[in-house]
């Protein structure tokens, strides 16, 4: 009897475990669409590209456009800004990346246009919008952008140089559809 009740209890344990496991799988399957429903909807994703006319922008000017609900900084840099960015040694950078890498999408018909710097204007610290788009804004110590929230400073290539932000300003995917028009996204 003892042995049969032992096997009974192990059979019962097995049934409990399998039933419980199936129940857990069922709950996970039911939860998946609910959790997934909170991710960006199809129409939100459909807004993921923006076309911008930049032909009016002169050297040393910037403009801000909206892409995916976020500001995108478009700057037509001066030669001095490009030279400063390229002269910076990699060791001085918190998030090392060359200026060439950051503007490599700025090309049309095989011609590189390093004067065009395009990046998401959202501080990588906690999401504030850095100042520096207007000539009268503070530009920080590195001739770039300055975040008023917690004092992060970005250089003329949008790379983090000082302050709490961990990363460079993000470069979105974009391409020049002709010399004066950009498709972002």
């Amino acid at each position: 009897m003892a042995s049969s009740s032992e096997s009974d209890s192990s059979r019962r344990d097995f049934l409990y475990l399998t039933a419980g496991a199936m129940g857990a799988v069922g709950v996970a399957c039911a939860a998946y669409p609910l959790v997934q429903s909170m991710n960006p909807a199809a129409d939100t994703l459909a807004l993921s590209t923006t076309e911008v006319d930049v032909s009016q922008l002169k050297e040393g000017q910037s403009m801000t456009v909206m892409w995916q609900g976020k500001p995108v900084f478009i700057r037509r840099r001066t030669q001095q800004e490009i030279d400063e960015a390229r002269a910076t040694p990699m060791n001085d950078l918190k998030d090392p990346q060359s200026d060439q890498d950051r503007v490599k999408q700025s090309a049309f018909n095989g011609t590189q246009m390093p004067q065009w710097l395009i990046m998401v204007g959202v501080c990588t610290h906690l999401g504030c919008i850095p100042l520096g788009q207007k000539p009268t804004d503070p530009h920080g110590n590195y001739d770039g952008w300055f975040c008023p929230c917690h004092g992060s400073q970005y250089d003329s290539s949008g790379r983090i140089r000082q302050g709490p932000a961990p990363k460079n300003l993000a470069v979105p995917p974009y391409q020049f559809t002709d010399a004066g028009h950009i498709k972002i996204g």
Binding site: M38, T44, G69, G127, I129, H150, P164
Partner: protein
């Protein structure tokens, strides 16, 4: 079991209901006859006050919900319509808006009372943990409620706080996108915050029921921190503490009414009367006052921690700040096990009493710093204040009992009370 505890009511209708569902007996047992230590001081009012604040918030919130529109292009104007056009809308909104502050005042006093008198100690550990869960739910609810008017502080507060989750390695950015339902704080975010802001208060009600149920198992702590031994140590809850709570509540409501009617925007940020603009960040992003100490702790972490001799960042300053901030609340959860002293009440613990007031002042300093820009001396003072905060929990609580000589405990509550006079 329940039928044995039934009370015989004179009113036949009540008696008829009570035989079938003993709600009246339950109320009588838990709120009328309930034996309560006879030596409560006024610090014991704040549990009842917090409960009433929760009811006020739900009641006013339901009426605001009848007029509020959760969409990015209508939210701000619908709140302004409540303020200007809806009958009594200005008053209902000011009661709700300042009610959040009053709720936090009541709950923070309630928590500090528990810390001072050792209410978190055995056998009330679970009661205490349920309280910390209520605090966390309140913080989430208050944060999401603050986003709803869609002012500048709403938007940027939401942006900064949701971005905290991006500090989580690897999956952080996916979590933030999931929270937003998009690529920035936007309409989907506002809609879900509204849904959750409506839901969470009822979850809080549920946890409050558990909190009070656990309280009625262990019984209340009291200023002496010793257990009642004989019926002489207790009085029935009604009329003694219904009256005392009622009096305290009246004074609290006088203060509350003064704020609502004479200084309704004193605790708010004027920037939140500017409609949200995703293209321009305000000069200083400051949370509501009740989050300031935690915000100060968040910002104390200013350096990245590297793997030694490499450039690989182990804990970025951003992640470090987030970990510190959540740890600050975790400390409360761990209190029942961190504190090794068998004596509950600070009345008999001279050094603990002193350190308690250091903690209170430290939290006020952190609150002050949370409202200041993170630069210069503010950063350094913030780091010292944060260190003190954690030292209270991690050093003072476990090690103080080794050196502290506690004063002798009275034999009973009634003896102590009677000797006093």
């Amino acid at each position: 079991m329940a039928s044995n505890d039934r009370v015989d009511f004179k009113n036949p209708v009540i008696n008829w209901i009570d035989e079938r569902l003993p709600l009246f007996s339950l109320m009588h047992k838990e709120y009328a006859a309930f034996p309560t230590p006879r030596n409560f001081n006024y610090w014991w009012n704040f549990g009842a006050i917090a409960t009433v604040m929760l009811i006020v918030m739900i009641a006013t919130g339901i009426f605001l919900a009848m007029y509020y529109t959760p969409s990015t292009d209508r939210a701000f104007t619908s709140v302004e319509r409540i303020m200007r056009d809806v009958n009594w809308g200005w008053m209902i909104r000011y009661i709700h808006m300042n009610g959040a502050s009053m709720f936090f005042i009541a709950v923070y006093i309630h928590i500090f009372r528990g810390v001072y008198y050792g209410s978190y100690k055995r056998p009330r550990e679970l009661l205490w943990i349920l309280g910390v869960i209520i605090l966390l739910l309140m913080m989430a609810t208050a944060f999401m409620g603050y986003v709803l008017p869609w002012g500048q502080m709403s938007f940027w507060g939401a942006t900064v706080i949701t971005n905290l989750f991006s500090a989580i390695p690897v999956i952080g950015n996916a979590i933030v996108t999931w929270l937003w339902g998009g690529f920035a704080v936007d309409n989907p975010t506002l809609n879900r915050f509204y849904a959750l802001h409506y839901l969470l208060p009822f979850v809080i009600v549920g946890v409050v029921v558990l909190h009070v149920s656990a309280l009625h198992i262990s019984g209340s702590n009291n200023p002496l921190g010793i257990d009642p031994k004989t019926p002489k140590d207790t009085v029935p809850f009604h009329p003694y503490y219904t009256a005392k709570d009622g009096f305290g509540l009246t004074l609290f409501f006088l203060f509350y009414a003064f704020v609502v009617f004479y200084a309704p925007n004193a605790l708010g940020d004027p920037d939140n009367y500017i409609v949200a603009n995703p293209m321009a960040t305000p000069q200083h992003i400051v949370p509501e006052w009740y989050f300031l100490p935690f915000y100060a702790i968040l910002r104390t972490f200013t350096v990245d921690i590297h793997i030694p001799f490499t450039h690989i960042v182990l804990i970025s300053s951003k992640l470090g700040g987030v970990i510190l901030m959540f740890s600050a609340i975790l400390m409360l959860l761990l209190m029942p096990w961190l504190d090794r002293s068998p004596v509950r009440s600070a009345v008999f613990r001279p050094i603990y009493k002193l350190l308690f007031w250091v903690l209170v002042i430290d939290c006020c300093v952190l609150g002050y710093l949370g409202g200041k820009p993170p630069e210069g001396a503010y950063v350094i003072v913030g780091q010292i204040a944060t260190a003190l905060y954690f030292m209270f929990f991690l050093i003072a609580l476990p090690f103080l009992p080794k050196i502290e000589k506690t004063r002798p405990l009275p034999k009973s509550i009634s003896e102590a009370v009677l000797n006093k006079n």
